[in-house]
Symmetry: C2
Subunit: 133 residues, 2 copies
DNA sequence: TTCGACGTTTCACGAACATCGAACAAGGAG
DNA sequence: CTCCTTGTTCGATGTTCGTGAAACGTCGAA
């Protein structure tokens, strides 16, 4: 892959408030966080976002650099996950308050995951070839 | 005064989450909110901020436009106040979480109020001329 | 090996932003 | 009236940000 060269996850203590607020200052990224709020890990082929591939990559990097998400690589595919625990340990209540607010106003509502496929995650390797919608 | 022409306070319902997060995405503005967090109204001659006059005016406008603060004019002087109630009614817990987090990391710690003068507020018109330190 | 799917990086561009100094407006004090 | 104080507005400047297209790297399958 592009090697994900500059990819680094900040330690829990290194997470900066301003960086978090800055990362959350965008409807698309708030939408991504909302999608991930159920704690499930998502491959970002699953993510439905109305932007170009490269822009999505950029947004996911901002979230990762801010310490909001964790990224894992498996072969050629990548997976995101919310760092809910780390975030709540460092800034108690912040993430929850933002998620509540975002839900009220439907901020980032245009972001979603692929429909159908109730269990489309990393836990299936072979087997049924999984028809894409 | 400059008449404060474009000054408008959004209604409580009009307060936008993205605008609030955007307004809070700056150490100086976070510092201003921290100073106002005690609920006291402050004249912005009291505010000690390491920026130029016009820049402070700008930051206070951003906070006001986002619905975070309320501004009042008395003669040639202006006063700010946190809209804690409105904010908490609309986005419960958000402001508190941000303030807690900002306090932990001392974000915006370089913002303060004039020292001494424990009761420097709008409730004194005449009387003692109030020596400026 | 060749091909295709997937994600990253680079580059460029326009918009938004933070900052300052200068010019301006409105009151208050003399 | 003339200053002085206070705050706004207006460029100007440099920075950051969101965006997409194109090129690239990597992996798995044919």
């Amino acid at each position: 892959m592009g090697a994900m060269r500059r990819a680094r996850h900040p330690d829990p203590d290194e997470i900066s408030l301003i960086d978090v607020l800055g990362a959350l200052n965008d409807p698309i990224r708030v939408g991504l966080v909302r999608v991930l709020a159920d704690g499930r890990e998502r491959g970002w082929g699953e993510l439905r976002v109305p932007v170009a591939k490269s822009t999505l990559s950029h947004h996911l990097r901002v979230l990762r650099d801010a310490g909001i998400t964790r990224t894992r690589q498996e072969g050629t595919r990548c997976f995101v996950e919310l760092r809910g625990g780390d975030l709540d340990a460092r800034f108690p209540g912040l993430l929850g308050a933002v998620l509540d607010a975002a839900h009220r106003d439907d901020v980032g509502g245009h972001v979603g995951v692929v429909d159908g496929l109730p269990e489309a995650r990393a836990d299936r390797k072979p087997g049924a070839p999984q028809i894409e919608s």
